[in-house]
Symmetry: D3
Subunit: 118 residues, 6 copies
Amino acid sequence: MLESTIDKFMEEREELNEIVMKYSGLNIKRFYNLDSRVYREGALSTKTKGLLGLVASLALRCDDCIKYHIIRCHEEGVTSEELEEALAIGLVVGGSTTIPHHRRAFQAWDELEETGES
Amino acid sequence: MLESTIDKFMEEREELNEIVMKYSGLNIKRFYNLDSRVYREGALSTKTKGLLGLVASLALRCDDCIKYHIIRCHEEGVTSEELEEALAIGLVVGGSTTIPHHRRAFQAWDELEETGES
Amino acid sequence: MLESTIDKFMEEREELNEIVMKYSGLNIKRFYNLDSRVYREGALSTKTKGLLGLVASLALRCDDCIKYHIIRCHEEGVTSEELEEALAIGLVVGGSTTIPHHRRAFQAWDELEETGES
Amino acid sequence: MLESTIDKFMEEREELNEIVMKYSGLNIKRFYNLDSRVYREGALSTKTKGLLGLVASLALRCDDCIKYHIIRCHEEGVTSEELEEALAIGLVVGGSTTIPHHRRAFQAWDELEETGES
Amino acid sequence: MLESTIDKFMEEREELNEIVMKYSGLNIKRFYNLDSRVYREGALSTKTKGLLGLVASLALRCDDCIKYHIIRCHEEGVTSEELEEALAIGLVVGGSTTIPHHRRAFQAWDELEETGES
Amino acid sequence: MLESTIDKFMEEREELNEIVMKYSGLNIKRFYNLDSRVYREGALSTKTKGLLGLVASLALRCDDCIKYHIIRCHEEGVTSEELEEALAIGLVVGGSTTIPHHRRAFQAWDELEETGES
């Protein structure tokens, strides 16, 4: 059976962020802040921005980034059909090397859909 | 003065596509077909899909892909504010190595805005 | 002791593919189909195509893709000498960042050679 | 009309290599040497190795590397059918971001085929 | 003869930055600001930071970024021997796909050395 | 609790290197040799070279490479302030997709600082 990837992911993220904060100076903190600001509601909705973050992360094949944006998209009310269309674009843009990441993206999405977590 | 990048781009693209078609078999043609299908209207609008293609292309730093999606976004009625927010996400996701591509993205956008081309 | 990477890999791949199929529409299915067609016998042999897929995957540092192509190359009768020469090209093209992937490639190859699996 | 890309490419390569040699020490020279050795005849033919170098370069979207390997493949007697199948694998592995590079690959190939250069 | 790459680069950069500023909002401006702050004197010298920026840019094969850091390294008093050692690391880490960028890096360095520009 | 990543990493590296050596020919061995030579004391110190290797590895998002260079930097006497500044450059150059790798870099550094290992 596949382990619960969402719970393990959130727990590890928490632990690692504490370590990062222990060492980070102003520039790294500013980057983290900016990384949160660009996804805020504006001319584009937070939902569209979540999908943009997801597809960019899939194109760059960053598993942790993908999982984070999958969770955010689920919270923003993205439907399974919308998610599938966004991931199809990421797949065509990034090619078959995105397939393993794309599998784990659907795995995380399925876990969220099945457990009703958001 | 900066040359008209849009016109030169479209002309070269045309010439090169003829050469590709001269040599391509069924699999390459199928890929090109799929590359067009994933951007069609569906659960997500063609406008949102254009932005997804743009940000994925910026993340992967593909100048020709960026220019193509900039032209498509302009045709789809994306506003300058929406474009700026999408490119800000691409910049934060992909880092400062996307800056040169991001400059050329705004250059192409500016040319389209100034000439009213779409 | 290193765990059996091939068995675990095949089992997880199976489970994840079921999840992907649950959500995928026509475009994603077409991509998967195309991803299988390009490796079929043609002007180039399936063996040469397996090596091409392997080296492209090593260059892009995609562990799951590498493992898949290592298994396919073994099935196609690639010898250890041929594999070493192909991986040397991938190493020089992609640089030292491919070394960790290249280690896991030889690990999977060694498992196949030792167990006689194909 | 598209300019002769092969001639310009070879001329610039020559000029730049002289500059590199003016500054390079032993390690860079060793790397260049190794970069030539991995493509030599061995368990795999120089033709297969040329195709491996080409597909790895397409996957990594390196135009100059692609052009170099296109010229080498032409010298090694690769046919247009073999080239098309190898580039189809590169396209599927690397996705639509490889399309601009793939266009320029066929452009260089076409120039070689038309002029009979090798 | 090879054109003066430094002058053309600086002129185009200037023109493009004006276009970027015309469209950019607060987040993009913050990123540009941060991109300048991380290279300032601190626990590491501006010279070491220039070399770090250069090698990261070579690894990611970003020509404009490389040229910018080559100019900065020259201003910071990096010697040709130091530059060669840093570029050798970038070459080994990033592999032969960095060679075309590495050639253009030495070309820009040579232009700076020959003209005494900084 | 997070497992000891350094110990597990060193042990697996050892086991995998034995497998690589079982299959590798002269070219792969030469590459490994060169990969060690470029970090030796020269015009630049081993400490600066360690930081260059680290930032290039972060830019290319190679976890094993990052961990290796974190261990080497710790041995070379890099301070936490110097490390933070180098990682801030890698973060800005490579963008938010480097964050998960950057978290694991600080985790490994923290383990080395806490246990006094080098």
